[in-house]
């Protein structure tokens, strides 16, 4: 229950405010239609920052994890300024909330490390935690598409459902080998970089 609450879009870490570069990609006109947007989100999760976050989260869930070192690694892995802002701001909000709710006093950390550090105490299956994290991550991006593309709500939910097998696979791979951090999402990285100088924008990233 606690995990679902913490990873729910209603948990106020502000995930709705970040598009992860998707706003720029849609504005450029390069992503026409639900299929192209679904592929983009799938690639970010399967081969980009989603997978990187999944590995960081899986590493943070391991018993005896060095969360200070993982926080440093997570900061160094940010592929663009706005990626750093996004993971740092949400991680800080998540840490403040969970510190208050559970009486801990953790320092701020990037989001996947903050989540792993707080959730580790719950003793839940790691794959389930990582999958739910990725589901929330994907859900935020789908909402960007619903609000900005625009995409119908039903189409958005269908897209999210379609991403489930990928989410489960990435979660399993990240838990099996959290150190195998890698990304091939060059285009998504460039979109995140380009977004930082976008003049008219709705999203923070």
């Amino acid at each position: 229950m606690q995990l679902v609450q913490w990873l729910s879009p209603a948990f106020p870490v502000g995930g709705f405010a970040y598009s992860h570069g998707l706003e720029w990609a849609i504005a450029q006109g390069g992503l026409a239609g639900a299929e192209a947007i679904g592929d983009w989100i799938g690639d970010v999760i399967g081969q980009g920052s989603g997978r990187v976050d999944a590995c960081l989260l899986a590493a943070s869930l391991r018993p005896g994890a060095d969360h200070a070192a993982l926080a440093g690694l997570a900061r160094a892995l940010a592929a663009a300024r706005e990626r750093a802002v996004e993971t740092e701001d949400q991680g800080r909000a998540f840490t403040d909330l969970t510190n208050t709710l559970t009486g801990t006093a953790h320092p701020p950390a990037p989001l996947p490390v903050a989540v792993g550090r707080a959730v580790a105490a719950l003793g839940l299956p790691a794959e389930q935690v990582v999958a739910l994290y990725l589901q929330t991550f994907a859900g935020n991006l789908v909402q960007v598409a619903v609000r900005f593309a625009p995409l119908g709500q039903t189409e958005g939910q269908r897209m999210l459902a379609g991403l489930q097998p990928l989410i489960l696979r990435v979660a399993a791979e990240a838990v099996a080998d959290p150190d195998a951090i890698g990304s091939a999402a060059f285009g998504a990285d460039m979109a995140a970089m380009a977004h930082e100088v976008m003049e008219v924008r709705i999203y923070k990233t």
Binding site: D39, G72, L73, A76, A184, F186, G187, M193
Partner: protein, 272 residues
């Protein structure tokens, strides 16, 4: 010895080369140099106070099981450029992966420009490269890495390759930038979040105090012959470029390097 070692299926090439530069009279001098196997390192005469270190793999390419290591140690306050004599070729692997390790160490206030020529991946290549730079506070690193997927002139489209290319920059024992590219068959699909069908791509980085200030000038100089983007924050300036082929990519990288390096000429061995 075999008469034709390159035809032996499991022949493994090993190469190690390292150079240390220390303060000299007016310009850095070699404080230590080691080379073994297929690796060579030399410093051609240049008409500049900034020495050029050139690494060479005499095996002419890398295939499964090969190990190639190079290292530069740059003393405090010194400046140097390091590069490779030719493009590195990752050939099809008959088994195992080729491994390349690059280690760069910069003393306080040192400035190193690590500008290897491009890496060309052939169909079926299996190559793992790790580049690690350790910076002492005040040091600056300029880095450019270019990768070309297959040979356009031969009509090749790369469909299968396993390439991992991990860059790590550390300062005072903490990671500053970690860039773990992992490119497998799935990542070669021509999709916009990935390489979008580009045949050549590059990553440029400037790491050091105030590096983020370079972002604006780089962005303004991005040629329209490539797709590119720039980001700057927190002592880092990063640029990524993709292009239909190697030549426009190299020209764009040269343009951006000229800005990052205040107009310093490219290493003389660069073929462009």
């Amino acid at each position: 010895m075999l008469d034709h070692p390159s035809f032996a299926p499991m022949q493994r090439v090993q190469g190690r080369a390292a150079v240390a530069l220390v303060p000299g009279a007016g310009r850095p001098r070699i404080g230590g140099l080691a080379q073994s196997g297929s690796a060579k390192v030399f410093l051609p005469a240049v008409h500049s106070a900034v020495p050029e270190v050139v690494f060479l793999n005499t095996a002419g390419g890398l295939t499964g099981g090969d190990r190639f290591t190079c290292r530069v140690d740059l003393g405090a306050g010194l400046r140097a450029v390091a590069t490779t004599q030719t493009a590195e070729r990752g050939y099809a692997s008959a088994g195992g992966q080729a491994e390349v390790a690059v280690t760069l160490s910069l003393g306080a206030g040192a400035e190193l420009h690590w500008l290897p020529q491009e890496t060309i991946l052939f169909q079926g290549a299996s190559l793992a490269r790790r580049t690690r730079a350790d910076l002492t506070p005040g040091a600056r690193l300029v880095l450019a890495e270019m990768v070309v997927l297959g040979r356009a002139a031969m009509g090749e489209t790369l469909e299968s390759a396993a390439f991992s290319d991990r860059r790590e920059v550390w300062s005072s024992g903490r990671p500053v930038w970690v860039d773990p590219l992992v490119l497998g068959a799935r990542a070669l699909a021509p999709r916009p979040a990935l390489l979008a069908g580009a045949r050549a791509f590059a990553t440029l980085a400037l790491i050091g105090p105030g590096a983020e200030d370079a972002a604006g000038a780089l962005r303004a100089a991005l040629p329209d012959t490539v797709t590119g983007a720039v980001s700057g924050w927190d002592g880092k300036c990063l640029a990524r470029l993709t292009a239909p082929d190697a030549l426009p990519l190299k020209r764009a990288v040269a343009t951006l390097l000229s800005i990052l390096r205040q107009g310093a000429p490219l290493p003389r061995v660069w073929q462009i």
